[in-house]
Amino acid sequence: MSFQPIKFYQTGTFTVGNRLLAPQERSVQAGEKRYNSLNSGHRACQGCGEALGARYAIDAAMEACHGKLIAANATGCLEVFSTPYPETSWQIPWVHSLFGNAAAVATGMAAALKVKGQHDIRVVAQGGDGGTTDIGFGCLSGMFERNDDVLYICYDNGGYMNTGVQRSSATPPAARTATTMAVGTEPGNAFGQGKFVPAIAMAHEIPYVATATVADLRDLEYKVTKAMSIRGARYIHILVPCPLGWGTASQDTIRMARLAKETGVFPVFEAEHGEVTAVLKIRKRLPVEEYLKPQKRYAHLFGKQPRVDTIAHIQGLADKNIRKYKLLEEGI
């Protein structure tokens, strides 16, 4: 099973902490003295999924390597909102790379640490979907291919959000952005071929690839901890809803991530050396409308004449994920 095994408790099993669990069974985030790697005072929007995902992931990585961690950070929301000169929200050694070379900078740091014999210090690279799936893709693929000892974390919010919500190659089909307006016969982003970087990472057959969402903290922490126990190139792709770009209410960030997983729109799994080893099953399967409707970027699908064809198309993609990754229990 991919998620952290928890003793059976009727209440709070899916919660962050739970006073009924022994301290060692609680999540990193439940700790009174957690690292808070990304500290208060950052300038992310209200209800930012990326700020939350970054703290979840980096705190778990810090816990796994006893606080000896260096991060390279691609340009993007995460970098912009956390480090307006001269302030920083980071409580870890942190380097701002260019937009496109976070993976290469991290590779360099890992190589330097190796040369200096400091094997206990670990390296992560992180960036948004723009810096990962578009601009930094070449460096990332190189890092995978060389199997450099770096954990690369991509926070996927489906677009270039801090520059005004432009399309990226991770923007989902039919979504409205500033560059894929809801006009014409096929409004929103084109369906295209799709570019799912976790699958591309798996094609490199690197030791570890995983996807996660901010809706399941325990699963996310488990995956980061596992990734940190492995040497070589590792990739974790975290879905982080963006209230600004998605047009959702700030309190709904976690709910949207949960709906993405429960509808099958975003498959949550882990893979080792190119093969899927575990998936997070859907608990209560829901139709994709449940996920699409609260988002203003899909509002054009639910106008006076709902685009049932487009919705059916998206449902088809979700069903394909469910089949492909076996997201439902057998026989359901």
């Binding site: 209440t11 919660t15 005072g41």
Partner: protein
């Protein structure tokens, strides 16, 4: 000014940036009223004591329970648990077995000999409590804890009132009553048995500052039924009271019980246990209209009691009775049809309700009675200042739990009255409705646990023969509580805040918001499983 090239400012922390200024709404921690607590006639803080039972601290749970109700072992058996009907978990799977956990705690207390906390400093006031039933015991217990000397006077040989003389043993064993009464006596309450008060004014002259009346309703209502010489027509009250004596009542092989309340069910089930071949309840309306609780009816049917709906008894013969069929009219009232039937019957037991003996209240100035009950105000005080009343004699909803609630309410009002104040109940918080919960976070019971759960249900709602829960399944059952409207320290708010604006105060101390950085996104409130965070508009 020893800075690297092109650097003019010292590195700073983002903590300098107080993002709390962005806020237009603010989250606040609240305690809402769980539906179980809102429904409990005894005003128990059910969610509050379940919280301690969840962590296995049964003594703390029991102490929290007896803050409001001194009779948990009795309640855990004889209460009709309206709390479970109101439980929000009904809408997920099944209600939490509150009653069974309560019984477990009550039994643990008896087994371990837990005592009540010693009362507050003595006030020097003395209060007369008439009747050692649930209302009187409850009132005396609360008065004693508030520092007043309570003296209970009861006409019967043993304490317990209708709990002893009205509820069959298979529902409530007598050693349980004895243990819980003794614990109240050990608190310092004076108990005088075999003493009947016939004149309240006279009894008060002994030096009492106030009185609580809880004499119950012991007089069976009668209906005129033409009867032959040889047949036996009894009333439910005397049958059930007779069960307490040396000689159990002789009811014969064919027993007919007339009535549709819980007492009728008790008598029919008792008759069955006494060896009656046939135990038939005759009731003039339908099952839906029956005042008896459905699970009691169900238990009775399972035990072989049969029920004749829409029937009235018109005549009692030597060895049979005449029954007339009824039909409901347009208004839902039963009307005679003229169809008759004879049923074999050695005994006919009338269970048509009870009246209160109000004779001791004659010549009490100001005291008003009506419809067979004593009239009381919102604080349970009668028209005569300083004389309070509760239980069966002061209301039409006549259950043990209501009586315990009356006793508590009256005790608090008496305490205020004795100090020359007027009792003002604390304001009730908003109800924690199901819609306020985020039930995603409550896991379903795994299938392997289901059989255990079913047994728990059976044990909690059936007769004494089946015994109570043991520690493991009592704790399991307690942990099914959703903690509606009250923080149970799941750390969700602390975890989900993107701005680290929630401060964890450590075990038992919950959390607080750091409004310097809280941007007011509302995620903590949306992801709080139990609805213990409200979002309010910020004054801008």
């Amino acid at each position: 000014m020893d800075k690297p090239f092109a650097i003019t400012l010292n590195p700073g922390s983002s903590l300098a940036n107080h993002t709390g200024s962005w806020r237009t709404t603010r989250p606040v921690y609240v305690d809402r009223l769980p539906p179980c607590n809102a429904t409990c006639p005894a005003g128990e803080n059910i969610q509050g004591w379940l919280l301690h039972a969840e962590s296995g601290d049964y003594e703390k749970a029991w102490r929290a329970l007896v803050e409001n109700n001194p009779l948990p072992a009795i309640m855990g058996r004889a209460c009709y648990h309206p709390c479970e009907g109101a439980c929000n978990r009904n809408r997920l799977d099944e209600a939490v077995g509150i009653n069974s956990v309560e019984r477990f705690l009550g039994d643990e207390a008896i087994r371990n000999g837990w005592r009540f906390d010693k009362p507050a400093a003595s006030s020097g006031k003395r209060v007369l409590v008439i009747g050692a039933g649930p209302a009187g015991l409850s009132a005396a217990y609360h008065l004693q804890r508030l520092g007043h000397q309570a003296v209970i006077v009861d006409a019967a040989e043993h304490a317990g009132g209708m709990m002893r003389y009205g509820i069959p043993k298979y529902r409530l064993p007598r050693d349980i009553i004895d243990a819980e009464v003794q614990r109240i006596v050990d608190l310092g309450v004076e108990l005088r048995l075999n003493t009947k008060v016939t004149n309240l004014a006279e009894a008060m002259r002994e030096g009492f500052d106030a009185a609580f009346l809880g004499v119950g309703a012991h007089i069976a209502k009668r209906a005129y039924i033409p009867a032959g010489d040889a047949n036996k027509v009894l009333d439910a009250v005397s049958v059930l009271r007779g069960m307490e004596g040396e000689d159990t009542p002789l009811l014969g092989r064919h027993v007919v019980v007339y009535g549709g309340g819980n007492t009728a069910i008790d008598v029919a089930r008792t008759a069955k246990r006494l060896g009656a071949e046939e135990s038939i309840i005759v009731y003039r309306r339908t099952r839906e209209k029956m005042p008896a609780h459905d699970f009691e009816v169900e238990d009775a049917l399972k035990e072989g009691v049969s029920i004749k709906w829409l029937s009235t008894i018109t005549e009692a013969g030597e060895s049979d009775i005449m029954v007339e069929k009824m039909a409901l009219d347009a208004n839902g009232f039963p009307q005679p049809t003229g169809e008759y039937e004879r049923i074999e019957a050695d005994t006919l037991v009338l269970a048509l309700g009870q009246d209160t003996d109000l004779s001791l209240l004659e010549n009490v100035p100001g005291l008003v009675t009506g419809n067979g009950i004593v009239q009381v105000d919102a604080t349970m005080m009668t028209g005569h200042p300083g004389v309070f009343a509760g239980g069966d004699m002061a209301g039409n909803e006549r259950t043990i739990t209501v009586a315990v609630g009356h006793g508590k309410k009256a005790a608090k009002a008496m305490d205020a009255w004795l100090r020359g104040e007027k009792f003002a109940p604390p304001p009730k918080p908003e109800l924690a409705t199901f819609e306020r919960l985020n039930t995603w976070y409550y896991s379903d019971a795994p299938k392997t646990m289901r059989p255990v759960l079913d047994i728990i249900r059976r044990q909690s709602t059936f007769e004494e023969v089946l015994g109570g829960l043991d520690e493991t399944n009592a704790q399991f059952e307690a942990r099914r509580c959703l903690s509606c409207g009250n923080c149970f320290e799941c750390d969700n708010c602390y975890g989900v805040c993107p701005d680290n604006a929630v401060i964890k105060l450590g075990p038992g101390n919950r959390f607080k918001f750091n409004y310097d950085y809280c941007k007011g996104c509302g995620m903590c409130a949306a992801e709080c499983p139990c609805g213990a965070i409200a979002v309010v508009a910020e004054d801008i």
